[in-house]
């Protein structure tokens, strides 16, 4: 079900799980697009020499995936803020999923708060945060 107005939203409702493309090829392409140098985005072995478990996905690409997930669920949403805490890097070529759940609704302001969690296939939280969106009343 896609969300059209704030009346469609209930506390605790889950957004459809989003499977982000966290392949090394996509991470590298994104790093190229935004002119981010650094072997950590491009090469697993080079990233390991920098102390990572493998090449990592740029943080702002992960934030883009969070916004994409929100808009897939609620196309008319205005994303007011996405606030993330990176507990661990998102490792390229590992499978990840993003879950979201509504944790606050302010019907007067038309605002909804969503908890966001990026986990890998071992169910480890790599990134968590919250988004505030505004929906039509």
């Amino acid at each position: 079900m896609t969300i059209a107005t704030i009346g469609d939203v209930e506390f605790g409702i889950e957004l459809p799980t989003f499977e982000p493309d966290t392949s090394l090829a996509t991470g590298t392409r994104f790093a190229d697009l935004i002119s981010w140098d650094g072997v950590r985005f491009r090469d697993h072995e080079g990233a390991k020499k920098e102390g990572f478990q493998g090449a990592i996905i740029p943080g702002i690409l992960n934030q883009g995936y969070l916004v994409a997930m929100i808009h897939n669920w609620a196309p008319p949403a205005e994303v007011v803020s996405v606030d993330t805490v990176f507990r661990a890097p998102v490792i390229a070529d590992d499978s990840h999923s993003i879950t979201g759940v509504v944790t606050d609704i302010d019907e007067e302001d038309g605002k909804v708060e969503i908890d966001l969690t990026v986990t890998n296939d071992k169910d480890e939280t790599r990134v968590f945060g919250t988004a505030v969106i505004r929906l039509p009343t």
Partner: protein
């Protein structure tokens, strides 16, 4: 009685959860916990009074702290005004021995948390710094653990004869209650929690899977 002994609210710099939303979440999702302890980073939240919220939701809401030492992070239960004056909670380099000694002198209970975690966990430092004296209890289930962090905590706690607690270490609403601690006693206030921790009458529980 089951309490989540490790949670953060928006009072912590990296906390994003409002306490009222924790309550709403626990009740709407029918989580098997009876309450939680707010352990804000590097501070003791003196001014917040959650008694009305606790009563309204039929939950126990208590306040502790999470301080930082050379051995990593340490939960403190039973913080008093005098204890907040005994050392600077905001420091990130507190000596663990001093924290333990001072807490005990003030009737509080220190519990090193996520001890199996690199950098901020106690067992990451014991090879270099030695086994610290005075530790009786560590957190063995942490809701934010990755890799084998909980297993490192469990194995070392068993080897060293420590008791184990559990807490979600939640920073957002939907992570509360992932791990917790089960008590045989009915705990309604911090004094009762401190007594139960001192008596060792508890077991860590996890709801992560």
């Amino acid at each position: 009685m089951i309490l989540d002994l490790h949670t953060h609210s928006i009072k912590s710099d990296d906390g994003r959860a409002k306490v009222e939303n924790y309550c709403q979440w626990i009740r709407s999702k029918e989580l098997p916990i009876d309450g939680f302890v707010l352990t804000e980073h590097r501070q003791y939240d003196v001014e917040s009074d959650y008694s009305t919220l606790a009563e309204k939701n039929g939950l126990v809401i208590l306040k502790g702290s999470e301080v930082e030492t050379e051995y990593g992070h340490v939960l403190v239960f039973g913080v008093t005004e005098a204890l907040t004056r005994a050392f600077d909670f905001s420091r990130i380099d507190l000596p663990l021995a001093m924290v333990i000694e001072t807490c005990e002198a003030h009737g509080a209970v220190p519990v090193p948390c996520h001890p199996g975690r690199p950098r901020v966990g106690m067992f990451a430092h014991t090879e270099e710094l030695g086994i610290p004296a005075g530790v009786k209890t560590v957190e063995i289930y942490n809701g934010g653990s990755r890799e084998n962090e909980d297993q490192i905590a469990i194995d070392n706690a068993e080897k060293l004869g420590y008791r184990g607690t559990g807490g979600s270490d939640s920073h957002i609403v939907s992570h509360v209650g992932r791990c917790a601690t089960e008590f045989s006693a009915d705990i309604r206030d911090m004094a009762a929690l401190v007594s139960a921790l001192q008596a060792g009458e508890f077991n860590a529980v996890t709801f992560k899977h």
